[in-house]
């Protein structure tokens, strides 16, 4: 539309990319392919969907990379086209905008006053010189730039504001570029990883999500405690990890990590992402003695630690703890060291009754699976104490600040583009037979209502001058 300049060599590629039709086509095309991306499950969710497709359809989907569409080459080509279109359009139209910005119309123009509505001029009985001074002052107080010129006994004023609103569009376009650049920086120099840390343990490695490759952090992170709170309704209330950051064996930082309250250490951000249980190394045991059904002993036994047997016939320890063994549920391996005689060991199960029904007869008879195989004691496994692990999202994204800058400029640019306009006002003060006449005219780039309001306002103030 604004192509006032004709280029010496009209480059067809340039012409193609400077078309606003192309912009609209790309915007709508992008909207349509995004719809596909929300209907076809992406990444992790795709497996189930893919299983229902016919082999031909599946191969088409795979060729087009539809299961990871937003990272597909063709999707990036569309984004690149939009970017190129945006840059070329901006450059192509900039000279015309610059001209509008630089334009300094003369104050002494009579054209704006032709066909001026009657209510845009007033006549006052005051003297010409005073009136002219007051009008000049009024304009200066309301406009950034004013100029005046006297021609043949009449005084002409030119005032303008909002010249910079012509650049709003360029700020918006620049902001889109900034956001895309920020995203590129993030994808080249950043990473998204995760790590699970059991309470009381530490790690210096995290797992990159994209290619499942371990990454050395360069420091150690330890989880001292994880806790989860629930509301009475059963909905989760708070997830909290107490983390310590350790460099060269020394704890440098300690912090509580909550959802919405990430922690940052040495340029790497940690987010509370998930949690879970792992079996700990401690089991709850109950030991009863044959012929003494009344009394039984509860023991909290940590794996590998030796405990003496009740009524002192030797010692035992928990040699192994499994959350599930041969699909028979939680089990513990008890190793007995009698005062005299051979050491022996056997498995005990939390679901003892069920296991005994399931096991084949020879195994039931085997001392390896008999909780009473060391007389007179009977061991039963009451439970394995579990520990929490905290699931952390571990990211580095050096492009984020660029993206935020882009967001800021986008909002600023949209404000300028939509709500500011270049207002130009011409005022003429001249002498007539009925007194001094003030006429006000104006033009605006957009928002004619705003201009009208400004002119009405000026006229009212000028009436008050007299």
């Amino acid at each position: 539309m604004n192509k006032s300049k004709t280029k010496d060599t009209p480059n067809p590629v340039w012409k193609f990319f400077s078309s606003i039709k192309l912009t609209i086509v790309i915007l709508i095309l992008l909207a349509i392919v995004c719809i596909i991306g929300t209907v076809v499950p992406q990444n992790e969710g795709a497996r189930e969907f893919a299983a229902r497709l016919s082999p031909q359809a599946l191969s088409i989907f795979k060729t087009l990379n539809l299961f990871d569409m937003y990272h597909a080459l063709w999707f990036r080509v569309i984004i690149a086209c939009l970017t190129l279109n945006l840059v070329v359009c901006s450059i192509d139209r900039f000279p015309a905008t610059w001209k509008k910005f630089r334009l300094r119309p003369d104050p002494d123009r009579n054209k704006p006053f032709e066909h001026l509505p009657e209510d845009q001029s007033i006549i006052t009985k005051r003297e010409f010189a005073n009136t002219a001074d007051d009008v000049g002052n009024l304009l200066q107080s309301r406009f950034k730039r004013t100029r005046e010129k006297e021609v043949e006994g009449s005084l002409y004023f030119y005032a303008e504001k909002g010249r910079f609103s012509h650049f709003g569009v360029y700020i918006v376009h620049l902001s889109v570029l900034l956001i895309l650049i920020g995203a590129l920086i993030g994808s080249f120099f950043g990473f998204e990883a995760y790590v699970n840390i059991v309470e009381g343990e530490q790690t210096d490695q995290v797992m990159i999500r994209k290619d499942m490759r371990p990454l050395d952090l360069g420091f150690t992170v330890r989880c001292d405690k994880f806790s989860v709170d629930f509301y009475e309704t059963g909905a989760p209330k708070e997830f909290r990890s107490v983390l310590g950051f350790i460099v060269d064996g020394k704890e440098v930082k300690r912090t509580d990590l909550l959802v919405n309250h990430p922690a940052e250490f040495m340029g790497i951000a940690f987010y509370q992402a998930s949690y879970g249980n792992v079996p700990g190394k401690t089991v709850d045991l109950e030991i009863s003695l044959e012929g003494d059904t009344a009394s039984s002993y509860s023991v909290k036994a940590e794996m590998g630690k030796e405990f003496s047997l009740p009524k002192g016939k030797g010692a035992f320890q928990v040699a192994d703890v499994r959350t599930d063994i041969m699909r028979l549920g939680p089990a513990a391996l008890i190793a007995i060291r009698p005062e005299d005689g051979k050491p022996q060991d056997f498995w005990i199960f939390e679901n003892h009754e069920m296991v005994m029904k399931k096991l084949p007869a020879p195994m039931v008879k085997s001392p390896k699976f008999n909780p009473s195989s060391f007389k007179p004691y009977t061991f039963s496994l009451k439970g394995i104490q579990t520990k929490y692990y905290t699931g952390l999202q571990v990211n580095r994204d050096p492009g984020v600040s660029t993206v935020w800058a882009g967001c800021f400029f986008m909002i600023a640019g949209l404000f300028v583009t939509f709500f500011m306009s270049h207002q130009r006002i011409w005022v003429r003060v001249d002498k007539t037979s009925r007194g001094t006449r003030i006429s006000v005219a104006g033009t605006a780039g957009k928002n004619p209502v705003g201009l009208e309001r400004e002119i009405v306002n000026l006229i009212n103030r000028m009436k008050q001058l007299s």
């Binding site: 539309m1 606003i20 039709k21 912009t23 609209i24 915007l27 709508i28 992008l30 909207a31 995004c34 719809i35 991306g37 929300t38 209907v39 992406q42 969710g45 937003y70 995203a183 998204e192 509301y231 309704t233 909905a235 989760p236 209330k237 708070e238 997830f239 909550l258 959802v259 919405n260 309250h261 990430p262 951000a269 987010y271 509370q272 992402a273 999202q393 571990v394 990211n395 994204d397 984020v400 993206v403 935020w404 967001c407 986008m410 909002i411 949209l414 404000f415 939509f418």
Partner: protein
């Protein structure tokens, strides 16, 4: 739960306002128009009171959060923003015909919230992901955007009706509807406000997502649909600002845009994603 009771009554007040606006358009009695405006104002006031009561009640329950946290509360807020924005436009333009096209949106949102068996009107505590200062700014910007697009949708329908009538006889129904170019101008203003608000909504959402999950954009269906909506309205603005499209084309694009808004709001709940608590 006095707030939910007031809110369900407000539904009927908005329905009454809709009928009054409609009667006003057909019968051209200014009294009916005044009554319609009064009903809208009364409904909005009652609704505001109910929302404040709900906020206070959430503190009494020990949860203490703004009533913007689930589908019920968001629908109520949606209706509230529509009515507020509409009454401002009515006051500025001194034309009441838009009311007959906008109040049904508010009424339907309220009716869906109050009477759908799938929607829980109880005040629920905030899950950890929602405990953020960004909740309020994100929801407010998004819903003012949605409301502005809702008004733009209503104006587009009015434009198309007015346009149809131009070709036929002078119907009494369209007589009070403003001229086409006024509708077109107002429509564009609503699109501009909506676009700015939607942009702010997406940005506040990104900032929030970045602090909650560590990534400002994860192509979650709701995020993607809000981007689709943004792209549609961006193309509307470009086609008008640069190519000078007016009238029918803009009206049709705006209707498509509002369908995207509705899908972003409701449809996405049928696709799994990070926003599932808004169900």
């Amino acid at each position: 739960m006095i707030n939910a009771t007031i809110l369900s009554y407000t539904t009927f007040v908005y329905f009454a306002a809709f009928l009054l606006y409609l009667l006003y358009m057909v019968m051209h009695r200014s009294l009916l128009g005044q009554l319609a405006t009064f009903a809208s104002l009364a409904g909005l006031t009652a609704q505001t009171v109910a929302m404040i009561l709900r906020w206070i009640e959430s503190y009494e329950l020990g949860f203490g959060h703004a009533p913007l946290s689930n589908l019920y509360e968001s629908l109520i807020f949606f209706a509230w923003t529509i009515m507020l924005l509409y009454l401002i436009v009515e006051w500025r333009t001194k034309n009441k015909t838009l009311g007959a096209f906008v109040t049904p949106l508010a009424f339907l949102a309220m009716a869906y919230a109050s009477f759908s068996p799938d929607i829980n009107s109880h005040i629920q505590p905030l899950i950890p992901a929602l405990k953020s200062n960004w909740l309020i700014s994100h929801v407010i910007t998004c819903f003012f955007g949605y409301a502005a697009f809702g008004l733009s949708f209503a104006l587009s329908i009015m434009y198309l009706i007015k346009r149809l009538d131009k070709q036929g006889s002078k119907g009494i129904f369209v007589k009070l509807i403003p001229a086409q170019d006024i509708l077109d101008d107002l429509n564009y203003q609503m699109i501009v406000i909506g676009f700015l608000m939607l942009t702010l909504g997406i940005i506040t959402g990104s900032v929030w997502a970045h602090s909650a999950w560590g990534t400002y954009w994860s192509w979650d269906p709701k995020e993607t649909w809000s981007l689709i909506t943004w792209l549609i309205y961006a193309s509307v603005i470009h086609s008008r600002m640069v190519r000078g499209w007016r009238g029918r084309k803009i009206a049709i694009l705006s209707i498509i845009g509002f369908c995207c808004v509705l899908f972003t709001y409701f449809g996405v709940n049928y696709l799994a994603g990070l926003h599932s608590y808004a169900k």
